[in-house]
Assembly symmetry: C2
Homo-oligomer: 493 residues x 2
């Protein structure tokens, strides 16, 4: 099968196409799926950038390569990639490998269509509608609208754009120059996409008024009220509050009922960034953390995070039934959204978005949900909470580990205090020295490939670890490993 | 293997995971890849929405389903989906199924990582850089910057945002209210994303000044000059011109050299929306259509279109070497872009974008390019041009087919004039009746599943067909089929 000359595209040779794809799929199953999720294998194979460039031989050349060379390239790409489905990957708000979701993603890729019209995506137009309906029902809405976006940041931007359009429909045509200065409100613990969105949408980051959070990371409604008054006094027009259900670092849930009261009093759009915490709505035991979410105007919820649906799966949900999405974003392109089609053109949902082509993000979630049912997904959420609790209790039992706070979600934040710093809390350079521990341990774990945990400074706190307990395959043994491994890696510090 | 009770997630059972995925992959190969690209099969299996809903049984329920049921669902999803890789799918600016690109997509999905840091995407951070470097070299730049975006519309928005930020860096913080009214320029043939972007970015659609296009759909530089003068006379500040290389309907290429001259004279940012036509840069024979593109400040180029890399693969390329992307979009989130990492944090490219999590869009293109080489991809482009030319000549030979114009690209636009209208060009209702032909034929072809071709009205012209000759597997026989099938479907009209 080896060729050294440029190859034909294989187009028109179905046997060769099938052989190639079966061979690649074999590599994927062995290397990415089996080894990639096996605790006996490394979670990553660290290489310095210059060495990795050599190993990958990235250059794109004039001549094509043989099938054997291509297969070897596939193996190399997988070998040096981080295994986010591995049980020792605690580094991000997504992890784990759900086989049904992956099956959905492979089908999506093989069908390669765009979600804009019923004409070319009949199955997925109807499926997206049903999946969004299900997510809305979990929020507590029996009607509404919504759309899958390329990530939670863009979902959040949509919410801001919809809120300003609802208040000032003219701004679509005339822009912001003719409007009074606008103000939106979010807590200092919010995701950074609120700031990015304000800049991108032309509002400017100054339009974001930062509301205090309490020591647990929850927005303080009294300060929200105060900030609204201050903005008004400065001549700005408040129009939106973005609350967070599941903050990025601490995993905090803002008090939605109290925030909704404030929004109602001032006539403000309430957006809930539940990108991380939205999936908790599936748990009868824990969904109280989001009490009040049904009072929101919009909700961003990323099933690619806690539900492991695969990147990206980000829903923006709306309570609106007035076709606000389409009015705000539509431009009626006549080459795509012809009005004289032979079917109901309301099925052409593509004009609801600011994209044109849009990936199919619903199938992976739908297929996983069909396989798991509400029950299976609920069990997964409850298990993540239980394992996070187990980890917390283990942290409390061990010397040299200090919780940042009791978590209410599956973000477990703590310091590893190395032997040389134990009992030295009162020394003047304690915090400075403690802050240097996590980067060193991170380097060691990555270079050994034994696990990956994120760390960060936060407010006045120096670097601490944030373990995200989200992978549905985790067990108590993985929690034990994590702590033992930290102790092993840090014993000489 | 059948279960009627809720299933476990399969997590922790690698044998079951592998069995499921191998079974699904078998379905994908048979149904989506083999049948889905076979001319002897239907390109689509039309169902009315209500019937399709029944067939799909979309509802998400409390109980999970058995593996057998899940496999049957996979078959059903594929059966009723449109086969965009089919040789009779001429409906969109993307079509065809490249097996190497699909292999890259399957690997991407199985690795499921986000493109923001070297830490969790070491291979893809380096690979994206190399792919962007290659694309820039084809534009004619030996240095620069760039990023893959979720679609060409968002690439275009980025260009607008970068141009305004470069001129008014304060607007990131202070917003548009403190700026003079801004004006950007594009032709009436531009993609609708320019209008959508202006609205989304807070500029308003009024800020888009529509420049005349000639009868072939190319921007008229003299009118651009005139519009700039008019905008200035009205007190607006011109800041950007968006030229198009490969318009959506007619496939026209704007005269970039002349437009660049105007931009240079007025100090305006030149963006080239080459989402559709950018891939022509690979062809030594045809790349003259984009002469002058090296003078642009930014270029949007979607290899998921003419190169069949798979949705989505959209590059925004910049000539800038001053880190404009990161300065414009960055927000230095301390939990993700820690500055005390053990590697060069310049490799963490995630702060260049307004997203947070970002899909890996480079691997599919890179793997296909490795397999094809520049040569293989060039041949593909040249073949598309040649087949479009063949189709045009056939159209000229046949009665009842009327070209809208001689194409310069692979969009072939024409009317099918049914027997009852032939020779009736002078009758007063001729154009009205002709305009109703395409929707009828479209309905017939879709319901038979024999082929899919888009149609649209355009300016003062009534509905005509636009055949997009992009699928690399096409042959002259497919072109003949297309015309024969139109004649067959329309013989009684």
């Amino acid at each position: 099968m080896a060729h050294s000359e440029a190859l034909p595209s294989l187009a028109g040779d179905p046997v060769a196409v099938e052989a190639l794809l079966r061979a690649v799929f074999g590599v994927v199953v062995d290397e990415a799926i089996q080894k990639g999720t096996s605790a006996s294998q490394k979670v990553c194979e660290w290489k310095e950038p210059e060495e990795l460039k050599q190993l990958l031989d990235l250059e794109l050349r004039c001549q094509g390569e043989s099938q054997e060379q291509i297969l070897e390239r596939c193996r190399t790409v997988i070998r040096y990639s981080v295994k986010t489905g591995h049980p020792r990957f605690f580094n991000q708000l997504f992890s784990g490998l759900d086989p049904h979701a992956l099956a959905g993603r492979i089908i999506t890729e093989s069908l390669n269509t765009s979600q804009y019209t019923y004409e070319i995506a009949p199955v997925f137009v109807l499926m997206e509608e049903e999946v969004l309906r299900k997510l809305r029902a979990l929020v507590g809405w029996s009607s509404g609208d919504g759309i899958f976006c390329p990530g939670g940041s863009i979902s959040n931007m949509y919410a801001v754009n919809l809120a300003r359009y609802q208040r000032y429909p003219d701004c679509k045509q005339r822009g912001l120059r003719t409007l009074p200065p606008l103000a939106l409100f979010t807590s200092k613990e919010c995701h950074y996409s609120i700031q990015k969105g304000a800049a991108f949408l032309g509002l400017g980051t100054d339009s974001v008024r930062v509301v205090k959070a309490d020591e647990r990371g929850k927005m303080v409604p009294e300060d929200l009220e105060r900030q609204i008054g201050m903005a008004e006094a400065e001549g700005a027009v408040p129009f939106l509050v973005s609350a967070t259900s599941g903050t990025t670092v601490l995993g905090a849930f803002d008090p939605l009922e109290a925030i909704a009261d404030v929004c109602q009093r001032h006539g403000l759009w309430l957006h809930v960034d539940a990108a991380w915490g939205g999936s908790v709505l599936l748990s009868q035991t824990h969904r109280h953390l989001l009490d009040g979410i049904q009072r929101a105007d919009s909700v961003a919820w990323n099933p690619h995070k806690l539900l492991a649906a695969g990147l990206q799966c980000s829903a923006l949900l709306l309570q609106d039934t007035s076709n606000l999405l389409k009015r705000c974003h539509g431009s009626q392109a006549s080459y795509l959204f012809q009005q004289d089609k032979f079917y109901d053109v309301a099925l052409d949902t593509g004009d609801k978005v600011v994209q044109c082509g849009r990936r199919v993000d619903c199938l992976k979630l739908w297929l996983m949900w069909k396989a798991q049912g509400d029950q299976g997904l609920e069990r997964r959420i409850d298990q993540a909470f239980a394992l996070a609790r187990y980890l917390v209790e283990e942290i409390k039992k061990r010397e040299g580990l200090e919780l940042v706070m009791e978590p209410e979600f599956v973000n477990v934040c703590f310091w590893f205090v190395p032997p040389s710093l134990r009992g030295k809390q009162d020394s003047p350079d304690y915090h400075e020295r403690l802050s240097k521990v996590a980067p060193v341990l991170k380097e060691r774990m990555v270079k050994e490939g034994s696990m990956m945990i994120g760390y960060q400074p936060h407010g006045t706190r120096g670097n601490f670890f944030r373990v995200v307990v989200a992978n549905p395959a985790l067990t108590c043994a993985d929690m034990d490993f994590l702590l033992n491994e930290l102790e092993r890696l840090g014993q000489d510090l």
